[in-house]
């Protein structure tokens, strides 16, 4: 099934879910965040998109975008079907987790949570993956001031490990 066919099928099944089809290099479809769990399950089960290659996120001035790159192993697709959700809430961006559908999303959603601060509802273990719990801020956000830290400065933010020294 080509990406255009998938989009047509998606529009037929969920007429209100598609919010935007931006003209980008990759075939991109933006959908309603509240419909993500349902649409993702539909894409996996009905449209053959059985492989979730990437989860990432973009920090725009007015919103966050969470981006999913979907492929089909079964149909041997080489072009990604890029699924996006626009999260207007800059204070507390939250979206449903797709880990129950694609196991490969687990660590990638944790990375997005860690570096971009997006909450994935329904994720089995939403903890920071690269930085430690307690690190001040989310470094990939545009409002994060990238500066150097001293060891002493970060020491109080670390989890206490009594056997460390």
């Amino acid at each position: 099934m080509t990406n255009a066919e998938i989009l047509a099928k998606l529009k037929e099944k969920y007429p209100n879910a598609v919010v935007d089809v931006p003209e980008l290099i990759d075939f991109t479809v933006a959908i309603e965040p509240s419909a993500l769990a349902e649409v993702a399950a539909f894409l996996r089960d009905e449209c053959g998109l059985d492989y979730m290659a990437d989860v990432t996120a973009v920090d725009r001035p007015e919103r966050f975008e969470v981006v999913y790159h979907l492929y089909s192993i079964k149909d041997k697709t080489s072009e990604p079907f890029v699924l996006k959700v626009y999260l207007e809430d800059k204070e507390n961006p939250t979206v449903a987790s797709v880990t129950p559908l694609w196991k490969g999303a687990d660590f990638q959603e944790r990375e997005v949570y860690d570096l971009m601060g997006i909450n994935f509802e329904g994720h089995p273990y939403l903890k920071r993956i690269l930085l430690w719990e307690g690190f001040p801020g989310h470094p990939l956000r545009k409002d994060f001031e990238n500066r150097t830290f001293t060891y002493e400065e970060l020491k109080p933010t670390r989890p206490t490990e009594p056997d460390l020294m």
Binding site: L131, T148, F149, T150, Y151, L164, M165
Partner: protein, 171 residues
């Protein structure tokens, strides 16, 4: 033959006079064992320095100890990120005295090309560094120059004043 003549005769036959410090330090500098531990690309050069072409076993340091408890020298080879820093400190704290630290490469020296949130800006923030080896990464020759500088430092120490033989804990 008088006693003095005997001594003089003996001195001609392979008896040398030296100081305790010189012998003691000569022995120590010829058996500095590094911890087997690398953090980034500098570790590749360190491995290069260990293997046949450069071969730092010529300095008596052929055994890279896998346990810090059997090592004298810590070669901090690579970028120390903040997440790794407590573990680096932990390895250092497990080493017995006398112990030395060699900061290999720009990253371990000053953070190098990574002035960001993730990277410790120089290992000397948390460890007492004896030798800094510049380079990105330093070639094996540079690392061995660093070893020789360390040997010079070891030769300058005196058994009377080194901290690990003092009754009081060093500050």
């Amino acid at each position: 033959m008088s006693e003095e003549e005997m001594i003089e005769e003996q001195l001609k036959n392979n008896i040398f006079l030296t100081t305790v410090d010189a012998v003691y330090n000569w022995g120590r500098k010829g058996s500095v064992w590094p911890v087997m531990f690398g953090l980034a690309c500098c570790a590749i050069e360190m491995i290069g320095a260990a293997s046949a072409r450069y071969d730092f076993s010529r300095f008596g340091m052929e055994i890279m100890r896998a346990s810090p408890r059997q090592a004298d020298l810590m070669i901090v080879a690579g970028t120390v990120v903040h997440k790794m820093a407590p573990q680096v400190l932990r390895i250092y704290n497990q080493m017995p005295e006398p112990k030395y630290v060699l900061a290999m490469g720009t990253c371990a020296t000053s953070g190098g090309p990574f002035p960001g949130y993730a990277v410790l800006q120089g290992i000397d923030e948390i460890l007492p560094v004896d030798v800094y080896v510049p380079g990105c990464p330093p070639r094996p020759e540079a690392l061995m120059q660093g070893f020789m500088k360390l040997h010079d430092d070891i030769m300058k120490q005196s058994i009377k004043t080194v901290s690990w033989y003092q009754k009081e804990e060093p500050a």
